[in-house]
């Protein structure tokens, strides 16, 4: 039954993607289609990356209300963007080659993870220590960002607000290609390890007893999470609650946390939410720049619901 629900989610995702591509085609159709296809690629990529990263993080921590933003990567991204705006001014910031920004952001996030998380894993610290460290770093980065933001020229502040939420409107072809490859590889690795992930959901004792090398497996899964989050954040900006939203929906839809079902279901629902949401905003409501805000709002609601209904783990 759960498998059939995955196909349902996949059908929905396809439908939304088609709607996003095909609605209101006017003018130079080839040109419009190409532009939309690029945007769709960005949407799908971010959807898959965020869905898979969230499932993985929840599995190894045994906690269903965590999102990868607990690791502080998106806060670091935000700090980096704020610092750039602060140093270069709004116009200078806009003039920087997006490819350069992408590479810098990616390197900073992966670098932070390598510098902070890998040593913690190597030293056999528990995942709790690791997440706490991430959360504290996140708070530090956010405080620094808001401090810098106060010093920024009010005109430049609008530029900054633009990068604080995910923005799917200006995808860069080459960056998309790089991101798509990285995301596809990471998602494929997660899929191949789906049975091991099922066992890891039992927690360290259960997994070790069944022959899983816990420390190496956790390090590997964390690496995937970091890679996925870093790529999607560098590409479109931070999406904190999207993952929580789609994984909770996928679990509700399929009634299982088996990874063979949950991974594809969460990814398809993420595509549905992003592509469908973008289609509605773009064709139904005219302005499409606020999808990031809407998704965060819905995701935040789900988070509160999960808290309120006691599904804390």
């Amino acid at each position: 039954m759960a498998e059939r629900r995955v196909w349902l989610a996949a059908a929905l995702a396809l439908l939304c993607a088609a709607a996003f591509l095909g609605l209101n085609l006017r003018g130079n159709i080839a040109f419009v289609l190409e532009l939309r296809a690029l945007k769709l690629l960005a949407l799908v990529q971010v959807a898959v990356a965020v869905a898979v990263a969230t499932v993985l993080l929840q599995t190894i921590t045994g906690n269903r209300i965590l999102t990868p933003s607990i690791m502080g990567l998106d806060a670091l991204y935000l700090l980096g963007q704020t610092a750039l705006v602060f140093l270069l001014g709004g116009i200078g910031f806009a003039a920087v080659d997006p490819r350069l920004k992408f590479v810098i952001a990616l390197a900073a996030m992966v670098g932070l993870a390598a510098a902070v998380f890998l040593p913690l894993v190597r030293a056999r610290h528990s995942l709790t220590v690791l997440l706490l460290t991430g959360a504290l770093l996140g708070i530090l980065f956010r405080s620094l960002s808001s401090l810098l933001a106060r010093l920024i020229d009010p005109n430049d502040f609008a530029v900054l607000q633009g990068v604080s939420y995910a923005n799917f409107n200006a995808p860069q072809g080459e960056l998309l290609a790089i991101g798509a490859v990285l995301t596809a590889v990471a998602a494929a690795v997660a899929w191949r390890q789906r049975h091991v992930l099922d066992v890891m959901a039992l927690g360290p004792a259960g997994a070790i007893s069944l022959g899983v090398d816990w420390r190496w497996s956790v390090a590997g899964v964390l690496l995937l999470v970091v890679l996925l989050v870093a790529v999607s954040t560098a590409l479109v900006g931070p999406v904190a609650f999207l993952g929580l939203l789609v994984v909770a929906l996928a679990e509700r839809l399929t009634g299982t946390r088996r990874h063979a079902v949950l991974l594809p279901a969460a990814a398809c629902i993420a595509v549905t939410v992003l592509a469908g949401g973008q289609a509605v905003l773009q064709h139904g409501l005219g302005g499409a720049s606020t999808l990031g805000v809407v998704v965060e709002f819905l995701g935040g609601l789900v988070f509160l619901l999960l808290l309120a209904t006691g599904n804390r783990r």
Binding site: G62, R124, R194, H195, V196, D198, V199, A201, L202, G203, P204, A205, G206, I208, S209, L210, G211, V212, D213, E251, G255, T256, R257, R258, R313
Partner: protein, 252 residues
Amino acid sequence: MIAIDGVSLTLQGTPILHDVSATLPKGELIALIGPNGAGKSSLLSLVARLIPLQSGRITVDGLPVDRTPGRRLARTLTIMRQDTGLAARLTVRELVGFGRFPHSRGRLTDEDRRHIAAALAEFDLTELAGRTLDALSGGQRQRAFVAMAFCQGTDYLLLDEPLNNLDMMYGRQMMRILRHLVDRQGRTVVIVLHDINYAAAYADRIVAMKDGRIIASGPPDAVLTTDGLEAMYGYRMPVHRIGDRLFIPHHD
């Protein structure tokens, strides 16, 4: 045989185990008893490589637990712990099926399915097989976790307080199944028990721990004496012999 040799353990600066040595022969049902905090769970966790070994040596069937690949060891030894983790959305059948992971890495074969069906039947879980764990009582869940350990098919089973939450009927049934595993299949069961009467009735050998040390080890007759039990639990209790059984009213 499980050979424990000169094992000490310190966690967060607190010494937990002091130079523990023991030999647990193959093909026996061995009860680990002792007051709360004696170090029983810690010792089992070390044997099952859940905690890294700090000093000393532990081998299971000659395999050193700190150097044998996890996958290899998972076909020889399994542990069921008190905190059975979180798997709320799993069905009983899925959970028990995880026991086959070391054999088929998640792709169940027909043989795996036979093992799963047998484990479900053995622990009276067939009717509950489709239920998720969060829809079970504590005792039913406990049986599901022991069934998973059983399904793993290892020669050695370490069970940390598997009788928790079980009523008398299922407590007795559990002990009889374990006894059967030892007698008919030649498996080795090491079990932490709190009710010494269960230990007296079912164990071939009793290992008694206190304050991070093994203070007695041997057949029930030798370990379960009024003096021995006072050394363990700090008060005197009579030990009666009824037929060939020891009976210890420890509650009055």
